[in-house]
């Protein structure tokens, strides 16, 4: 149960490599320009099966998207804190 925080845009190689690091039952949280991954309809297929994907709502909406544009669930800052509570490790 590890929380992996991806903050850089999909254009940045390190973001794609961080996605690959997740193991089943981990959660990947997309924040800042990392939220741009959330418009990718195939995002689920780019991570290991069983990995949970969520994006930070504030960062997604501020970039002009609406909630319907996201292929994964959105969480707010409270949700980020809950993810910190639920996962016992962080990779960021």
């Amino acid at each position: 149960m590890t929380l992996i925080v991806v903050k850089k845009s999909p254009e940045n190689g390190i973001s794609n490599r961080l996605l690959k690091v997740a193991l089943p039952s981990d959660t990947i949280l997309l924040v800042q320009d990392g939220v741009l991954f959330a418009m990718d309809k195939d995002l689920e297929s780019k991570v290991t099966q069983g990995v949970k994907l969520v994006a930070l709502k504030e960062d997604f909406l501020a970039r002009g998207f609406s909630e319907a544009d996201s292929s994964i669930p959105l969480v707010d800052y409270n949700g980020w804190v809950e993810l910190l509570e639920q996962n016992d490790k962080v990779i960021s």
Partner: protein, 119 residues
């Protein structure tokens, strides 16, 4: 009169560069210079009416609008980038008064300016 192109290529809400690009462009009117601003890559996200960095507590993009109107600063965005982010015509904030350009036109377009500065 000389022409100068300022190119913004970074995502709008995550960094200050689009604001700095316009601040630079508006400063050019003090000389015999005609500035144009080009949105390329993730910078095209800025044109959406709903793109509001101020929701994160950051500097709004809308502070540029009155100067764009006053100086009639030309703002250009790359078509392929708009499509990549599914930005439809009716989702674009009218205050930008965006002109579209296709990727294939970029080389000739850029070479037509006396100076080209990326931000």
């Amino acid at each position: 009169m000389k022409s100068v192109l300022f190119v913004a290529y970074q995502s709008p809400a995550g960094s200050i560069w689009i604001n700095e690009t316009f601040r630079s462009a508006f400063g050019m009117y003090g000389e015999e210079l005609e500035p144009v601003v080009l949105f390329m890559g993730e910078a095209v996200l800025a044109v959406r009416a709903n793109c509001k960095p101020e929701q994160l507590g950051c500097l709004p993009l809308s502070i540029t609008f009155k100067y764009i109107a006053r100086y009639k600063t030309k703002v250009v965005a790359v078509n392929e980038d708009l499509e990549r982010f599914a930005i439809a015509e009716d989702g674009i904030e009218p205050s930008w008064n965006v002109t579209r350009i296709s990727e294939s036109e970029l080389p000739d377009f850029m070479h037509a300016f006396d100076k080209v500065v990326f931000f």
